[in-house]
């Protein structure tokens, strides 16, 4: 039963995708209901999985090496999260896409990607993960290009390029790892990799595998596609991209970090540094952005950075990794729920206003208490305000860093880690600042040009979904020991975490201090930077948001595109030269030796048969001389002699 459930979760949505596509050509409303029914059934399937922990399925021979599926605590949590997010984004999809084209295509690939994502999270070896990861990448490409505007097409190209490139580099890493470790099974990998003698090759393999997964997660320096793609994709799709697909990337990073490089401090340091840069860069970009979805996209990047900090700390802390493991898992969960709410709200706003520019949508949320409530829940959640769930996970991550500082301080220096701790708190402050910016712009400020809309602005399922998700964040935060701690405890073994010795007192003064520092930094940044530097008065004397981020500072346009074009040029140049080498040789031989047969004369009447002129035409660079004949004779003698000597 358990193994049947595993394969059902993967294949059922894929079969449903085809069915809904075929039905959608006949009736759109039936299709909409069917898609919803499929996602609901998927969620129930995932819930059933709770009764079969440890379900495993090995499918020999499929796809060459065979596929392995397995369920354990962490993977069941991720599967549940996936199914829930998919269902909750399908609810508002109906009204979001009401006046748009190509819905049938969208739903087809939506459900295909659901099956593929389930495959990733339930996979039992890296081979299976990779196969479903590629399927997910390609299926989700269609979401990004869905709108078919020129921005969407540009964004989707970046998305596809990084997807293909990442997939290939990862594949290379998987080859290497398979060669080195001899297995790709998660439960055997940890032991097999520890036994690998050549650490440098292992790092190369890990780096290659990391590349593809990090690209999907949006880690620096592979984050460049993220803001553009998230902005271009339809809002429900962006919600999934941010809530689940980025976590699929994190899942891969976790496999590399917790199985291949289990408690490897150097690897942990690498992930930590990249995580810190991602966290800060995302937050700074988010602070500068004046587009709702773009800010949220940058925020996603920043939160991924927080999660990566947790992953890195696991490697560094080694046997003391409890807090980091807890923080990583819980921040993944929190971020998914929070971004789900925020992107759905962005979708609601976009359907009514057809705009995402903060200056145009400002004040639109006035008089819409339900929307304001759910936005606020998500904003304080992601900002790490005590009593909400984000506070719990951020505190755990922060405590992980503090614990490492204490360990280091006992041995001597902890300078770098102290810097990282402060950067962590500053990034938390920036999170608060840009979320405040969004909240103030949409729900508090008045828009002098547009009056506040009255009447219904979203349908009932969407409002219900937003309210429930918002309340979940609060409940998780209030009753952290009963809810979040238990989820983390169930997930611990997959990440190879130690058991927590005593429950964390989340609301003790030391733990609250971190949040307080972040709040203060956030307030300073909001009033000092956002209101002061990033706004100006326009001609009517109204203060508007301005985009002060320099246009040229775009990693994709500045580095990657020129690099790729340069490589393409060099490749084409080399191919050209290679292609003509043979021609040159032939030309040279032609000119040296070739006595051209009498020139062909083609009478105009018949082109099949030619007549020949009388004299042979010689076209060599060496004239027809006795010396030349002698030269050739000499060359022949030398060749013969050489042959005789060598025999």
């Amino acid at each position: 039963m358990g193994s049947f459930l595993l394969i059902f979760l993967v294949l059922f949505p894929m079969a449903g995708a085809v069915a809904s596509y075929l039905i959608g050509r006949k009736s759109k409303s039936v299709r909409d209901w069917l898609v919803l029914a499929i996602t609901v059934a998927e969620l129930f399937g995932a819930l059933l999985l709770l009764y079969f922990p440890g379900a495993a399925l090995r499918m020999e021979g499929i796809c060459g090496l065979g596929l392995t599926f397995q369920a354990d605590g962490f993977r069941i949590v991720m599967a549940l999260l996936t199914a829930a997010v998919w269902m909750m984004t399908t609810l508002p999809s109906k009204s979001y896409f009401a006046h748009r084209h190509n819905r049938n295509r969208y739903y087809l690939f939506l459900l295909l990607a659901l099956g593929a994502t389930m495959g990733i999270f339930l996979s039992g070896d890296l081979y299976t993960t990779f196969i479903f990861f590629e399927m997910m990448s390609f299926a989700s490409y269609v979401w990004v290009v869905q709108e078919e505007t020129s921005e969407a097409i540009k964004a989707s190209r970046s998305y596809l390029t990084i997807g293909v490139l990442g997939g290939l580099v990862t594949l290379m890493g998987v080859f290497l790892l398979y060669h080195l470790a001899g297995t790709l099974q998660f439960d055997l990998l940890r032991g097999a990799c520890a036994a690998v003698g050549d650490r440098r090759l292992l790092y190369a393999a890990g780096g290659c595998i990391l590349f593809g997964f990090a690209a999907k997660a949006g880690m620096f320096p592979l984050h460049f596609w993220m803001p553009r793609s998230y902005t271009a994709a339809p809002a429900p799709a962006t919600a999934i991209l941010s809530a689940v697909l980025s976590k699929a990337g994190i899942f891969g990073i976790l496999v590399v970090s917790c199985d291949v490089f289990y408690r490897d401090a150097d690897w942990g340091m690498l992930i930590l540094i990249l995580g810190v840069v991602t966290m800060l860069l995302g937050a700074v970009l988010g602070l500068f952005s004046i587009n709702l979805k773009r800010t949220l996209a940058c925020s996603s990047m920043s939160q991924i950075g927080f999660i990566l900090v947790g992953v890195g700390m696991q490697g560094l802390l080694g046997a003391h990794n409890q807090l980091a493991v807890y923080g990583t898992v819980l921040h993944m969960l929190n971020h998914s729920l929070i971004k789900l709410i925020l992107f759905v709200i962005a979708g609601v706003i976009f359907t009514r206003t057809e705009s995402l520019d903060l200056n145009e949508i400002r004040g639109w949320g006035r008089g819409k208490p339900l929307l304001a409530f759910s936005f606020l829940m998500a904003a304080v959640g992601v900002g790490g305000i005590p009593l909400w769930s984000g506070y719990i996970s951020k505190t755990l991550l922060h405590e992980g860093i503090v614990e490492y500082i204490e360990i280091l301080a006992a041995q001597g220096s902890a300078g770098l880690m102290r810097v990282i701790e402060w950067l962590f708190l500053i990034a938390g402050g920036m999170t608060l600042a840009y979320m405040t910016k969004l909240f103030v712009a949409i729900f508090i400020e008045k828009n002098p040009e547009k009056p506040v809309e009255k009447g219904t602005y979203m349908d009932k399922p969407t409002s219900a979904m937003l309210t429930i998700s918002g309340l979940t964040l609060l409940l998780f935060g209030l009753f952290a020991h009963g809810t979040m701690d238990r989820i983390a405890e169930a997930s611990r073994s997959f990440l190879g975490g130690e058991a927590l010795e005593h429950t964390v007192r989340y609301f003790s003064w030391t733990n609250l201090q971190g949040a307080l520092i972040s709040v203060c930094i956030g307030a300073v940044l909001y009033f000092g930077v956002v209101r002061f530097l990033l706004m100006k008065k326009d001609r009517q004397g109204v203060r508007v948001y301005v985009d002060r981020w320099p246009r040229w500072a775009d990693l994709e346009n500045l580095v990657y595109r020129p690099l790729l074009q340069g490589l393409a040029f060099v490749g084409a140049f080399c191919s050209r030269i290679a292609a003509s080498v043979a021609d040159w040789l032939i030309y040279l031989i032609h000119r040296l030796f070739y006595k051209k047969a009498p020139q062909t004369v083609e009478p105009k009447t018949n082109e099949q048969f030619g007549a020949y002129s009388n004299r042979p035409v010689y076209r060599g660079i060496v004239g027809e001389t006795l010396a030349y004949e002698l030269l050739l004779y000499g060359a022949g003698v030398v060749a013969t002699l050489l042959y005789l000597l060598l025999q």
């Binding site: 499929i62 196969i131 293909v164 290679a578 043979a582």
Partner: protein
């Protein structure tokens, strides 16, 4: 089964084709029935022979004890025979529709049917002399197909094809003579025929001769720098490009290289020698070169031809690893690439047949206009790029793991070439797919108003082949088990 049945699938289509050339059938319907009948009967015959193989070999002509024309089926020949016998009827039905606008159908189908027999001859050859005979016949039988339209470009391509192939075969002939004088027999023997008593001290010479033979047979497998004929030959009618220049002729080249390497000189003799370095380098260079050229070729069929150049070298690279795993990888890519590339060419042909558009940039918005064709094209593209779980992924995985397992530095370079080429493949194929489905701004829907899918004779083969490339990927293991048995010398 009586022994003489071995020669039936070789001789029957040659006679049937020759009869058509001598007595042309003017009525299209009668001709179609005749050709379809001949091809299907022969495919069934070939299958029957492949399933119930007689125990003994059939010697047709006997020159001397070592030189005979002999037919017999072994594992390699069985794979190639099955591949060809399955794809030939599909292509024939496709051609019925396609050749309507090319004309001179009697000539085309005559030679097309004859080629079937010749290819089966290549597959059934039991020694190098027989292989050589059918290999040369293959060049001659397919020449009229390449030059079918008889305009300037077609005649140029035909001449180029003839010169390249015949000179290649001449080099291969040299290799054969050396095998005869330094080996015990010309019969295919897994592990090689070289006689250690005779080869002592002549290793360098023999390795040089192997390189000659490799590049000689490699001409048909379009190995760089002897690949030039293949892109030019794409002026041939599309069924020819599809079946001959993606499957039969080029794979006959690969097949001959495998015979030469594994059954002639023997892996143990060549492994680790400089000859292996040379041939592996040539294959790795061709892999990247073919993909790079494909990317900068806007003509769709030429682009696919360059892609074939690259993919044939995947097989050659894997084969020249000279390990059992390498042979498995090569054989799997030989089969999977055949199915995928024939699909791509069929799609290109369907587009040319319906719209006379030949360039990639003319295909904007075709996704909606020709849904079946473009869906097949997309599946095949993803397969060729090696996106799991499609067929191309399995073979690439096999090739790369085989390369990694040898532990040679050159093998790593080859794996890097595979990865780079996969990226280029993604670029040159996805560019077509993206244009077709997401044409972007400035696209005029009126430009595809008249465009539609071709009729069932064309779409049904497309659907069958696309389904095959998915199924082969999902259920690859029985096939791989067969390849492993061949690679083990069974």
């Amino acid at each position: 089964m009586p022994v003489w049945i071995l020669c039936l699938p070789v001789l029957f289509p040659i006679l049937a084709g020759a009869f058509m050339l001598a007595r042309p059938i003017e009525d299209r319907r009668k001709r179609q029935i005749y050709v379809a009948g001949a091809v299907i009967v022969n495919a069934v015959l070939a299958m029957a022979v492949l399933v119930w193989t007689p125990d003994e070999a059939l010697t047709l002509i006997r020159f001397s004890d070592t030189m005979q024309i002999t037919l017999q089926v072994d594992g390699m020949g069985r794979i190639f025979g099955i591949l060809v016998s399955l794809l030939w009827p599909l292509t024939t039905f496709y051609s019925f529709e396609y050749m309507k606008h090319e004309g001179r159908e009697n000539k085309f189908f005559g030679f097309f049917t004859m080629t079937f027999g010749v290819i089966v001859g290549v597959a059934f050859a039991d020694n190098f002399l027989t292989l050589y005979l059918f290999y040369e016949l293959l060049t001659l039988a397919t020449l009229p197909l390449v030059m079918h339209s008889m305009d300037g470009r077609a005649r140029y391509a035909g001449k180029k094809y003839l010169i390249y192939s015949l000179s290649g075969a001449a080099f291969a002939f040299i290799a054969m003579i050396f095998l005869l004088s330094y080996g015990s027999t010309l019969d295919f023997t897994f592990g090689g025929v070289l006689d250690p008593a005779k080869t002592g001290g002549k290793e360098l010479l023999l390795q040089t001769v192997f390189i000659l033979g490799f590049f000689g047979f490699g001409v048909k497998a379009a190995v760089f720098p002897f690949h030039g004929w293949l892109p030019d030959a794409s002026v041939a009618p599309t069924p020819v490009s599809a079946l001959l220049h993606a499957v039969a002729v080029v794979k006959a080249g690969v097949f001959a290289v495998i015979r030469l390497t594994y059954y002639g000189f023997g892996c143990d003799f060549l492994r680790g020698s400089w000859a292996q370095t040379v041939v592996m380098t040539a294959a790795a260079v061709t892999i990247v070169y073919g993909s790079a050229m494909a990317l900068r070729t806007p003509h769709l069929k030429r682009r696919l031809a360059y892609s074939t150049v690259s993919n044939l070298s995947y097989i050659l690279f894997s084969v020249t690893l000279m390990t059992p795993a390498g042979l498995v990888g090569g054989l799997s890519h030989m089969v999977f690439h055949a199915v995928i590339k024939i699909t791509l060419f069929f799609c290109a042909g369907a587009i040319i047949y319906k719209t006379h558009r030949e360039y990639v940039y003319q295909l904007e918005g075709f996704g909606r206009a020709m849904p079946v064709t473009m869906a097949a094209f997309t599946i095949a593209s993803l397969g060729l790029m090696g996106i799991p779980p499609l067929a191309g992924f399995i073979s690439k995985w096999n090739i790369a793991t085989a390369a990694v397992d040898t532990g040679m530095p050159l093998a790593w370079i080859g794996v890097a070439a595979l990865i780079v080429s996969a990226l280029l493949t993604a670029l040159y194929l996805m560019a077509v797919v993206i244009r077709a489905y997401f044409p972007g701004k400035g696209y005029d829907p009126a430009s595809v108003k008249e465009v539609e899918d071709p009729n069932r004779l064309m779409t049904v083969p497309l659907i069958i082949l696309s389904a095959a490339s998915v199924l082969l990927g999902l259920c690859a293991s029985p096939l791989l088990a067969v390849f492993e048995r061949i690679a083990a010398g069974l």
